[in-house]
């Protein structure tokens, strides 16, 4: 159809070259640093090969961080998708077109906030003495509750903020997806007197299987970026209750000991795990 042109090459090669350099250099360097024993501010270093990685597996704080990250991933992904599907279906079912537009605007607002802002907004809200969310509990029991200082509750409080940002946005996307479906199957089901939830459970949601799986995939990737929320809200505490892998890598590399190599070995493990897992998942989603 098109005559020969240099456009594809000219438009592809420079950008791909830059992307490859910008992504491969840090990746290769991360591996090299992980095999050394660098400490920030100290010039001497040696290759220690795999000893950082071996140390990791006897480091209880590392194992705890792996567990916290896995919990975080499950809690936030499942809660986000649940909130999104329930709210999306409710909007589709019950809201007038005008209200739908209104809710869509409203539900996009939280995700636009910088994570640092979102974290502060909710940190104020959960403040044991002056917080607006904790106010009813204070008013009834007369005692302050420190949910962010509670080892059992803190992770879930932080997860709430994540779901507040992403679940509401995804609800808008679920609504848009529902609106793109052909109306005939829905009308047929209504003629058969199917109930609202039956229509969605048996007809619409199965029709949206592929895009919903892609959404879940996107959320799984985004959930890995929880550092800013946790950094502002709990700094990994109380104790190590909310210390995810990136938080632990950060504190090993920068705050506590400046053990850059040790931190990098953690980061490399994370990188390998995420690239392998997501590549497999992505290929599956595509096929």
């Amino acid at each position: 159809m098109l005559s020969k042109t240099s456009l594809p090459k000219v438009f592809t090669i420079p950008t791909m070259g830059i992307l490859l350099v910008l992504s491969m250099v840090p990746t290769i360097f991360a591996v090299i640093i992980a095999l050394q024993n660098r400490v920030l501010g100290q010039p001497e270093m040696d290759f220690v090969w795999l000893s950082n990685f071996i140390d990791l597996f006897s480091d209880r704080r590392f194992l705890n961080a792996v567990w916290v990250s896995v919990k975080w991933e499950f809690v936030t992904v499942i809660a986000t998708m649940t909130v999104a599907i329930v709210l999306g279906v409710l909007m589709f079912q019950y809201a007038s077109p005008r209200m739908r537009n209104f809710y869509c605007l409203l539900f996009i607002v939280p995700v636009l906030l910088p994570r640092v802002s979102a974290a502060f907004v909710w940190k104020f809200a959960f403040h044991p003495l002056y917080g607006i969310v904790t106010y009813p509990i204070r008013a009834i029991t007369g005692k302050p509750v420190d949910l962010l200082g509670n080892a059992n509750a803190a992770l879930y409080v932080v997860a709430t903020v994540d779901v507040w940002q992403w679940g509401l946005l995804f609800a808008v996307i679920v609504l848009k997806l529902l609106e793109t479906l052909p109306p005939q199957p829905l009308e047929a089901a209504q003629l058969d007197h199917a109930k609202g939830w039956q229509i969605h459970y048996f007809i619409t949601l199965p029709m949206l299987r592929a895009p919903l799986i892609s959404l879940t995939f996107v959320k799984m990737i985004e959930s890995l970026r929880s550092f800013d929320l946790i950094y502002v809200m709990t700094r990994g505490g109380p104790g190590v209750a909310t210390e995810t892998l990136d938080m632990y890598a950060f504190s090993q590399g920068f705050i506590e000991a400046g053990k850059v190599s040790y931190a990098s070995s953690m980061a490399v493990l994370m990188m390998v795990a995420t690239v392998v897992i997501f590549t497999i998942l992505w290929k599956r989603v595509q096929s």
Binding site: T15, A30, L106, F124, K176, V260, M271
Partner: protein
Amino acid sequence: MKLDRILGNLVLAIFGFIALFPLVWTALNAFKKNVDIISKVPKFFFTPTLENVTYVLGRHSVMAGLTNSIIACGTSVLVGVVLGLPLAYAIARYPNKWSADIQFFVLSIRFLPPVAVAIPLMVIWLQIGLYDSLVALIVTYSLITISVTVWLSIPAFQRVPKEVEEAGFVDGYGAYAVFWKVALPVALRSLVGAIAFSFVLIWNEFLMALMLSSTNAKTLPIVASELSQQGMNVPWGILNASVVLLSLPPLLFLGVLSGFLSSAFTRRT
């Protein structure tokens, strides 16, 4: 039937409230005196003060952070546009055996854990002597803006009707002129959405900025987070005001992004 309608609308209204109320409350607190914030019972009525806002805007560190944020975000978004849009167009219009792999590679940049990128980059920038400079931040951020721009612009270019572009060829345009004079203007509205999205993402970025800057290149999110560590006597009003300042720029794009979402999901077949 009637009952579920009422219940459904009630749930929606509650979530609408949850979406906005914490923000409204923070904005209100930005205009309160400290005594009004740390009262036992939340105060909805108070005499507003501009003290917090003027304090925040008057601080040197805040203004420096704001300038850094604007320069770093603006430049890297521009780099993303200049390099990303052509690549997206080439993938959308001239698919070949590499296209799927390129698309996957661009997406896979999102898989990289930010710490895994930030640690080696910190070591590299330290060695070159560019640590804590805007150049380092811009180069790092460009990786993100290019990949986001490419990823979101491919569908925007694919939605440009082929016939429009063919008409351009018939009129005697070459491939570059068709891109510049036909595809870009037609796709412009969706492209603006994609670009706005990459801006918001970079404006909100925290971890890289935290690890790649120490004094000179700090961006606004870092400055805002540091305000919270000022001793025991927490300046609540000031904190709230700085949160509001930090949140305003991305919120300006609310309209653009909601339009982008609608157009991205309605023209499926």
